[in-house]
């Protein structure tokens, strides 16, 4: 089967390019160009230009740089520090202490942002300096961020659920509602893991025990008010009907600027630094997204993902075996393509199989999002890994290793929703 050789050859190309240190975006472009030039007659250069343009001028994507900018502003203001000193009295008695701020912070921010990269960039920018200053272990700090930032995709709003809903004609409102309980389940799993880890690794965590009077606790908690104001302002603008979830990102930027001005942190320099920082980070992500979009189209031309999916279909598996096979398939593809591309490239082959096996397409949407979440933290192509690499300067394998336990937890969550599908379907069926 020549497709197998082709696939192996393309994977080798990707590994050589990435491994030798070629920038991620260029590596993706390179594999796409190579694949298309070797195995299709289509004009590579024109397809590349068209795809890159088409994937970069999207309105929905505009939320990404805005959220990143919001993170930059908060990072330069007192707000992120205030948030941590306000929360520390409350999480001080829970094993794992401030690490939970990463998880909860990502969970809350996920209710605002539809992408995991924006969630990782915004929360990470605020929490990494604060946590490393307090001596929290690096691996867990990066791991909790990488893992919980994926919640951006599951907790509504969510870009990937919109893509899935449009491609499979499922109600987007129902998909959003369906994501709520699994999202909370994941938050609980992540918190549980950190608690257990902390109980077994007491020596690795900072053991500062602050003895605070009740009054001091209240005083500290008051410093959370600006952050609460910011979050409710952003979410409120959506539910008041004055901003779409994309627009809400701009509301976030303006409120962050306002708060940072009120607390005296906003100067001309800090404004410019924040803006330039956001420009660079979003440029980095946008360029990789463009590379990923081109690789996706190149794969569409070569037809490899469809052939692999067809092959799975030809095995005529039972529903559980099919889900197991699809999980392996998605995880493997998810290592090399970004999650949304996997959905776009394969739904038209996979959905008939899934429906024939009697699997509820609404439930399958949530299943696919969790699988895509896993792909965000698997090397070599994992967007959360890229964001955290850029924030910490650690290499991608170190970041991926830190995220590994959370990959396992996502896999575990998949098992739970397969065993208890009502966790997904209860809310949408009773809406």
């Amino acid at each position: 089967m020549s497709e197998i050789y082709l696939t192996v050859l393309l994977l080798l190309t990707l590994f050589v390019l990435l491994g030798s240190g070629v920038w991620v975006a260029f590596s993706l472009f390179g594999v796409g160009i190579f694949g298309m030039a070797l195995f299709t007659d289509a004009p590579v250069g024109s397809v590349l230009a068209t795809t890159v343009w088409g994937s970069s001028n999207s309105w929905a994507l505009a939320a990404l740089p805005l959220f990143i900018w919001m993170g930059e502003i908060l990072f330069r203001s007192r707000l992120s520090q205030d948030m941590f000193s306000g929360l520390s009295p409350w999480v001080g008695k829970i094993p794992g202490k401030l690490l939970h701020v990463n998880i909860i912070g990502c969970g809350i921010f996920a209710a605002v942002s539809g992408s995991s990269a924006a969630t990782a960039a915004t929360i990470g920018k605020m929490s990494i300096p604060e946590l490393s200053k307090r001596g929290y272990p690096e691996s867990l700090m990066i791991g909790t961020l990488a893992g919980s930032a994926t919640l951006g995709l599951l907790i509504p709003p969510s870009i990937i659920l919109i893509v899935y809903g449009v491609a499979t004609e499922q109600s987007i409102a129902r998909l959003f509602i369906a994501g709520v309980i699994p999202g909370l389940l994941l938050v609980a799993l992540f918190i549980g893991f950190v608690v257990v880890w902390a109980l077994f690794n007491k020596d690795k965590l900072p053991d500062v025990i602050e003895q605070l009077s009740f009054r001091e606790k209240i005083r500290r908690t008051r410093s959370l008010l600006p952050v609460i104001f910011l979050i409710s302002g952003v979410i409120g603008s959506i539910y008041l009907g004055i901003a779409s979830p994309t627009d809400a990102a701009a509301v976030g930027v303006v409120l962050a600027l306002l708060l940072s001005w009120c607390t005296g942190g906003l100067t001309r320099e800090s404004f410019m630094e924040g803006l330039m920082g956001a420009t660079k980070t979003s440029c980095m992500i946008a360029f990789i997204l463009a590379g990923a979009a081109f690789l996706t189209v190149a794969m569409g031309f070569t037809g490899i993902p469809k052939l692999l999916a067809l092959w799975i279909g030809s095995l005529e598996l039972s529903p559980y075996a099919l889900l197991a096979a699809l999980t392996v398939f998605f995880v493997v593809l998810g290592c090399f393509l970004d999650g949304i591309s996997v959905v776009v490239l394969t739904t038209s082959v996979i959905m008939p199989m899934v429906e024939q096996a009697g699997i509820d397409p609404l439930w399958f949407g949530i299943y696919i999002v969790i699988v895509v979440e896993m792909s965000q933290i698997t090397p070599p192509v994992g967007f959360n890994l890229f964001v955290l690499q850029s924030l910490t300067g650690r290499n991608i394998l170190t970041v991926a290793k830190a995220a590994l336990p959370f990959f396992a937890l996502l896999l575990f969550a998949l098992g739970i929703i397969i065993a208890v599908p009502e966790l997904v379907t209860y809310l949408p069926n009773n809406m």
Binding site: A42, P43, S46, V47, T50, T51, W53, G54, S55, W59, A60, P157, I162, G165, V166, A167, T168, E169, S171, I172, A173, R174, I238, Y239, L240, G241, I242, S244, P245, T246, V297, G300, F301, G303, V344, L345, T347, S348, M351, M431
Partner: protein
């Protein structure tokens, strides 16, 4: 030969189902000499890129929503003019009148139309009963092009811009209160989650079109060309029939899910809307120039 064919809509949309049939017909008729690989749901090129991708030969054939090109020339948007052609018979006559004109226009870009299939007639989605144009006044109305913006202004509605995936949430939060689209789109997006009333005003009957790159076309031998044309003609006939069946079926689906169906709409509303349509046609005539005249005189209006 294998042809890659990008289409914008998902597999279950009847347009895509029809195209998959078309691809099979071509393959059978040519004994596999020409196979068409359909890439649905914008998985190869996104909707706004499809026409240009065909033009520059990145793919030999593709499908898109015809009036998407109405900014390029008004003639492309004739089928999306409110209350010019409001049922399938009129739409068929309009397509016959429109086809020679857009064939010429597309030819300038090295494109050739293969066939065109309409969406079901467009209805009105609201959360209250609409009995006259006065009921639309001050409602936030979804406008995604210049024609609809004008339409909103003439009816006294407030034009607002909402992207397709954002529609359900925009209705729930009140960013949009009225939109015009086909029963297919309404049923597929489960409109009962966010609207209470569907008024079957049959405002217009817009079409999708399948176009082919002419230099790719010239590379086919005569027998293959004939097979493609034959399959295209069959696809057009089948598509129109599918569209008609779709209208009733999808209105029924919405009714079964609790949407109040207003069909036929009130006399007053129809009268008011026709007046708006006449007003818009005047503007369109000026903008569409000689091509517009050609279409209208052939249409007999």
């Amino acid at each position: 030969d294998t042809w890659d064919m990008p289409t914008p809509y998902p597999d279950k949309t009847f347009h895509t189902e029809n195209i998959i049939e078309f691809a099979k017909d071509v393959e059978t008729a040519t004994n596999g000499a020409l196979t068409i690989k359909v890439h649905s749901a914008g998985s190869l090129f996104k909707h706004p890129e499809i026409k240009n991708a065909v033009r520059s030969g990145q793919v030999p054939v593709g499908e898109f929503f015809l009036s998407l090109l109405s900014n390029e020339h008004e003639a492309f948007g004739a089928d999306s003019l409110p209350f010019l052609a409001t049922n399938y018979d009129d739409a068929e006559r309009l397509w016959a009148a429109q086809k020679p004109v857009i064939t010429k226009l597309l030819d300038k870009q090295g494109l050739m139309p293969l066939y065109s299939v309409p969406w079901p007639p467009q209805g009105l989605y609201t959360n209250k009963e609409i009995n006259s144009v006065a009921d639309l006044k001050g409602l936030k109305f979804r406008a995604y092009n210049a024609t609809l913006e004008k339409f909103a202004q003439l009816t006294g509605a407030a034009p607002t811009q909402v992207e397709v995936p954002d529609i359900p949430q925009a209705y729930t939060t009140g960013r949009v209160e009225a939109m015009i689209t086909s029963p297919s789109t309404g049923a597929n997006s489960k409109a009962w989650d966010f609207v209470s009333h569907y008024t079957h005003i049959q405002a217009w009957v817009p079409k999708n079109i399948v176009v082919i790159n002419k230099s790719a076309w010239r590379k086919l031998d005569e027998a293959t060309q004939a097979a493609v044309l034959d399959a295209a003609q069959k696809a057009e006939q089948r598509g129109w029939a599918m569209s008609k069946a779709e209208t009733d079926a999808q209105i029924q689906v919405m009714q079964d899910n609790g949407v109040t169906i207003v069909n036929p709409p009130s006399e007053q509303l129809v009268q008011d809307l026709k007046a708006v349509g006449a007003e818009m046609l005047k503007d369109w005539k000026t903008a569409a120039g000689s091509e517009g005249e050609e279409i209208l005189s052939a249409y007999g209006n």
